[in-house]
Symmetry: C2
Subunit: 492 residues, 2 copies
């Protein structure tokens, strides 16, 4: 019996193994195809990723010339490896990150190199036996101290890489100096190759299809504001649609993608902060001057997240049953719809004002209207008497109204922060008298594309004294130091 | 006049300059003192930071021995710099991060070194003129491809550093090989020094006061759950205290620190994910086995954040006026207080169950009670008739009740996820018959400290067959593969 069953098992294993082998090419083929598809998707999602990869390849190949090309090799010698190392480690996706790393690396190398040579000279004073002890002690003290300094938030945010390179170079120089005699020549070679590597990275990242962290932060904040607007628009149409057609099943509302867009806003803090950190290292580019108020974007971002938390709470009620408590619902429906629609309009105006860097005050009427609606709602509620009220059914509707009121407050705060940004960053504004009052309506219906930095076909209309053109761009009067021409020049 | 005013200005400048100079030592002194205080605070907040800094110092000094000590230097030669470099770059705060970087570095160096030598051999086939072209082409292709692969989320999360080192080593080896003849010897030296550096880091980070990413993740999730409980406890006491004493001014409630603790939960996603990533690299340690379900912590973390979003919405109402709508408030107050207090108790039990890795089912009665309370509230609302209701004043109270109901749902989900974790991670549980039913009450009053990994005075009571000890620890029956002794052994 046992033998039989064992042979059965064996007979079972072989065909199964054969099936597995037969299926293998198909399986691995489909895996490869899936992998290729995911790669394609990553490239399509952001084509700058492909460009970045090519740029790194070009930079590395260029730096390899230090080896291939005789005259350069004679100049730099074996230290050329440091140029290759620098390019690989320093070249980052955004210009700001690349600049931050290059500058950190260069200055840390310079400082640590000097200190290292000094430490070596100090150590020689203690004789041949004392030298390694003193050097070891100095390396220990400096490495421990510098490592601890990496926990300081300010250093962590801006100079973390510099501190690593500082420890690295100090240890290398002070320790190498113990053996290598031509230390100064080595240090000079190392520094110059690092400069060559760093400069190659900077030049390529700035001049070949640059990816600016500042521009990314700017777009991220604007698109986050728009995501909130999208949600409110969807919510407005979705939650209260039952008044006309109460037959639509509730299940059909689940999983609408435009209602999920705001979810990414909830966890945007990290990426906003790192982009703002890198943006500070960047020179003026496109529409952004050197000291662009990047910190203000973080403030707007925090308020946008606050609003997204309210929306997350609101989202819990989108599928709740609003078919009962009709009397109460009717009382609440109109002001709620109006509140969310005005908030949505205001957010769209603010988003497009950030994107196009124009006057955001067109959002003010919407915010005023939403505030009036809150008062209307309060008055209606104050005057209401509900004799046959189903309190249980009222609670979720009251909650939605209440959260919408909180959302309105958040939107007002966002508007104030965007206004502040418009002053700090000298946004341009279009004179109201010449433009029809319908502009905000136009803005929130279409989707306005931002003017691209590299797009030199864009012409900024700047007319002074003569009012022949209907749209006149000029500085906001509150701006402390108007710099009108710089921005226009920077665009092309 | 002009001369006079100019001399006045001069006369004004000098005393001011003198004042500035006189004040300088005081100012810089106070700045230095502030700086020292902030450094002290960082060390006190987490003393492991100081230990980590000292560990890096020790590792670097040890590796420097490669240079100082003659026999070692003769073995490794100038390649010893790679050991120093490895220590500086690879030594991270947690064991997981250090292991991840060391292993990534070692395997990437090995792979890229082999490929680099192969590429060099291939290139020699194309003659002296073709060689640099082929090498340059290969460097370009591999650098671009590898850089692009860093955008793949899976590679980004686990192998990012490895890919960087792969590009680095491949470029270095294939390019250096063009000039340096003793390439194999160099490669061997480089690899062995990297191994020495990496091994030094791993040994020191594992055996000298180790900081485990897994333990940190475990503590973070448990403390986040507790922060929610703290909020609910504070809210319960704060929001409804007016029923007894309505004279307390509202302003006094602002800025209570225990009500702000939950704010850090909102943005915990990033740190949880990176800790979970590093934890996967760690071997079994303390109470955590090799394949501890770290992913489940991420799931709990996401649910905890969801609950924190509800609390953020709730927090908007803590200062709202609840002095009107007394009738409605009275109706709602009791169930609301009970809901939040039961949720708070359940969360405390769950938090301490995670911390001590014991059975979390003591939370179930609290959750059941909170669910019953929701029904009670619903029934009360259904039966209520409010003739003279002030609808306006009711809305915020209804909102609080409604959000508390949502919070109850969140807490239930958290409880389910913690239960799943307890099965996946083979939590131990105490037999109920022998322990008084008051246990949950005890748990949520005191603060239970987790058993420390290194604390060898801890004795795990494991009694089999005989029931003489009241607390009997045994495996949960659902656990697929019970490994009871391993955990106890690992603790000491």
């Amino acid at each position: 019996m046992e033998v039989e069953s064992a042979s059965q098992v064996k007979a079972g294993i072989f065909p199964r193994g054969w099936d597995y082998l037969k299926a293998l090419p198909k399986k691995s083929m489909s895996k490869i195809i899936n992998f290729a598809k995911s790669i394609k998707k990553i490239g399509q999602d952001d084509p700058r990723r492909v460009t970045h990869s090519l740029k790194v390849g070009i930079a590395l190949t260029l730096v390899s010339l230090l080896y291939y090309w005789r005259p350069l090799y004679d100049g730099f010698g074996v230290a050329g490896v440091w140029a290759v190392l620098t390019v690989v480690v320093v070249f980052e996706f955004t210009v700001g990150a690349t600049l931050s790393k290059s500058l950190n690396r260069t200055f840390a190398t310079l400082l640590a190199g000097t200190l290292g040579v000094g430490a070596q000279h100090l150590a020689t004073l203690f004789g041949q036996k004392g030298e390694p002890i003193i050097l070891g002690f100095l390396v220990f003290i400096l490495a421990s101290g510098s490592t601890f300094s990496r926990f300081l938030p300010r250093i962590k945010a801006r100079y973390d890489y510099g501190v690593v390179i500082f420890i690295l170079t100090f240890s290398l120089v002070s320790v190498s100096a113990y053996r290598v005699e031509k230390i100064l020549e080595l240090a000079h070679q190392r520094l110059s190759t690092i400069l060559v590597g760093g400069a190659t990275c900077i030049v390529i990242s700035v001049f070949v299809c640059p990816v600016w962290a500042g521009q990314d932060l700017h777009n991220l904040v604007a698109s986050n504001v728009e995501k909130l607007a999208n949600y409110l628009e969807g919510f407005e149409g979705d939650y209260f649609q039952f008044s006309e057609d109460e037959q639509i099943p509730l299940a059909s509302k689940d999983g609408k993608s435009f209602l999920q867009g705001y979810k990414s806003v909830l966890n945007s803090k990290g990426s906003e902060e790192s982009l703002a950190n890198f943006a500070r290292w960047e020179p003026g580019h496109g529409r952004f001057l050197l000291r662009h108020p990047w910190k203000q974007y973080l403030r707007i971002g925090a308020l946008v997240r606050e609003c997204a938390y309210q929306i997350e709470a609101l989202n819990g009620y989108i599928n709740s049953d609003v078919q009962s408590a009709l009397e109460f619902k009717r009382k609440v429906q109109e002001p709620c719809t109006k509140m969310s629609s005005e908030c949505c309009k205001a957010l769209r105006v603010l988003s497009s004002a950030i994107k196009t860097m124009t006057d955001p005050s067109a959002a003010n009427p919407h915010i005023e209207r939403s505030k009036t609606t809150v008062n209307d709602l309060n008055n209606a509620l104050r005057a209401a008497s509900l004799k046959d009220a189903n309190l249980l059914a009222m609670v979720p509707i009251a909650t939605v109204a209440s959260i919408l009121i909180e959302t309105t407050k958040c939107v007002e705060k966002i508007s104030e922060a965007v206004n502040e940004l418009s002053h700090l960053a000298h946004f341009k504004y279009v004179e109201k008298s010449n433009v029809s009052s319908e502009k905000p309506h136009l803005l929130h219906r279409g989707s306005i594309k931002p003017v691209l930095d590299n797009d030199c076909t864009h012409v900024a209309i700047t007319v002074h004294e003569t009012n022949t053109v209907s749209a006149e761009t000029k500085e906001i009067p509150q701006a402390p130091k108007p710099q009108p021409t710089d921005e226009t020049v920077n665009i092309c």
